[in-house]
């Protein structure tokens, strides 16, 4: 059969269209997305007294606030939106359009990265405004970059959850459970029990918190921070690999 003349749209134009739709979706869901900023804000406001304590300090407060915000974005925002759209058949409709499949997820991830950057910025501003925390310029820049690295772990974990579990309600409840578990892990980490601290430090929560705290004070970056960064990257690779391997575009 002779091939007819068919024009394929440019990938850049497709990605632009998807981004426009995904940013519109993010904006329309702004109330739900603000919830991801709520817990970090509560930490910034309520832990004000810890800022001046020698055993905690400003980096401790900000790194905890950002870490919990990253967990909320990755596990609650991203995971639930993917599970819902897959269940409704949104992805199947996109898949029959002439676009490379990677553009669908890339657009979603870019939107989530924007949320991560927004979260980091909001925490910095709130920390400055309410807790009078002022870091060096390099501290702010490094933390901005490290928050993206840290956020990738939880986006990867979210991808693994939505890959393993098909039902959107089960995805939602599982994500909440894991979010809660991370909060508990964070609390255990603050207990003055050495072996618990060691365990928590090497969990996905602990490693992200460590690299964020160290990036806020770059002069204090040490071997433990480097190891935590390597482990964070390792977690990301493992979660993302499993998430991609398990992921199905349709629940049918």
């Amino acid at each position: 059969m002779n091939q007819m003349e068919i024009t394929i749209p440019k990938t850049s134009a497709v990605l632009k269209a998807l981004l426009k739709a995904d940013y519109t979706t993010l904006w329309r869901n702004r109330r739900a997305n603000l919830m991801a900023l709520l817990v970090p804000m509560i930490i910034v406001f309520s832990w004000k007294s810890m800022v001046s304590m020698p055993m905690f300090g400003p980096a401790f407060v900000l790194s905890n606030a950002i870490t919990l915000g990253l967990v909320a974005i990755g596990l609650m925002g991203y995971t639930n939106s993917i599970a819902r759209d897959r269940d409704k058949g949104v992805f199947q409709r996109l898949r029959v359009s002439p676009l490379p499949l990677w553009t669908i997820m890339t657009s979603r991830l870019i939107v989530q990265l924007t949320m991560i950057m927004l979260l980091t910025l909001v925490v910095f501003i709130a920390g400055y405004q309410f807790d009078h925390i002022s870091m060096s310029l390099s501290g702010y820049i490094y933390t901005f970059l490290i928050s993206i690295v840290g956020g990738a772990v939880y986006l990867g974990l979210g991808q693994a959850i939505v890959g393993r579990i098909q039902n959107p309600e089960t995805v939602n409840s599982s994500a909440r459970l894991i979010y809660f578990a991370f909060i508990v892990v964070g609390m255990f980490g603050e207990l003055n029990v050495e072996y618990l601290k060691d365990i928590v430090n090497w969990t996905p929560y602990g490693t992200v918190k460590t690299i964020l705290a160290s990036s806020l004070e770059p002069s204090k970056w040490n071997n433990q921070a480097t190891n935590a960064l390597l482990l964070t990257l390792g977690y990301t690779v493992v979660f993302a690999t499993l998430g991609i391997k398990w992921f199905k575009w349709s629940t049918k």
Partner: protein, 259 residues
């Protein structure tokens, strides 16, 4: 000069498996330009699996599917650009309104929908008043019209419609039939699956009946009726003395209710 319409869709010896279960067994058929082709079969017969392989949603284990001269496995983007697909259960991003959905999908097909073009399109599908509504706020008929408008927004060479009239009232169904016929008049091919034999008789130029993953009959609706009208199985199931396509369908696929 050869004026014969060419095959816009060619399916050859298609086999689709889900694990060890074979859903499509050596299916072959073709659709010409300007032809409405119906794929009929009971639930679980292999209609949607066949369409899914054509749409690129699932990968066949063997066999070839060619759309507008492009093989689905070798040129998936060309095939998708040449096709318009209306899935059985379609949904769009629930946060987007009708205008935004139309603009998104126009862009995905490389088109720019100016405000003027958008308004014309909305008027054509009788949704000028609903442009700001979210997809979930529309009635079944309105949703179906948006879905069909997106399916045909890029004037595709081949349109695939999976049970397009399911859940529609008679008025909406008739309106859809006219739209499908308008697609044919432009010289584009249409493949539709349906459980409505009345619909198949009314709109399809040719039909294939598929059961247990195999095509068991292919012809025009009238030719199928004429060919089988004296079969004892057809006579046994026919009512009121007049043999219909539904009688032939039931005689060929059996009376058992499927999943």
């Amino acid at each position: 000069m050869d004026t014969q319409p060419i095959n816009i869709l060619q399916v050859d010896d298609l086999n689709v498996f889900y694990g060890s279960f074979q859903a499509v067994k050596g299916v072959s058929f073709h659709v010409k330009q300007g032809e409405i082709f119906g794929l009929l079969g009971p639930n679980g017969a292999g209609k949607t699996s066949t369409l899914s392989a054509v749409e690129g949603l699932i990968r066949q284990q063997s066999g070839t599917v060619t759309v507008a001269g492009y093989e689905t496995l070798k040129h998936p983007l060309h095939v998708k650009a040449a096709m318009g697909v209306q899935l059985q259960a379609t949904s769009f991003q629930p946060e987007l309104n009708v205008s935004e959905i139309l603009q998104l999908y126009a862009s995905l097909y490389g088109l720019t929908l100016t405000q003027e073009k958008l308004k014309t399109l909305l008027r054509e599908i009788n949704l000028a008043e609903a442009e700001g509504k979210k997809f979930g706020q529309l009635s079944g008929g309105q949703q179906q019209r948006v879905s069909l408008a997106i399916t045909t927004i890029h004037d595709p060479k081949l349109v695939l419609l999976d049970e397009p009239t399911s859940g529609l009232d008679p008025q909406s169904r008739r309106q859809l039939w006219s739209r499908i016929e308008a697609i044919r008049e432009k010289g584009n091919g249409v493949v539709l699956t349906t459980h409505s034999m009345e619909e198949a008789e009314a709109v399809c130029d040719r039909i294939s009946i598929i059961d247990h993953g195999r095509i068991i009959a292919t012809d025009t609706p009238q030719a199928l009726i004429d060919k089988h009208r004296d079969d004892p199985e057809v006579v046994a199931v026919s009512r009121r003395g007049k043999v219909t396509l539904e009688d032939v369908f039931i005689a060929l696929t059996g009376l058992d209710i499927r999943g």
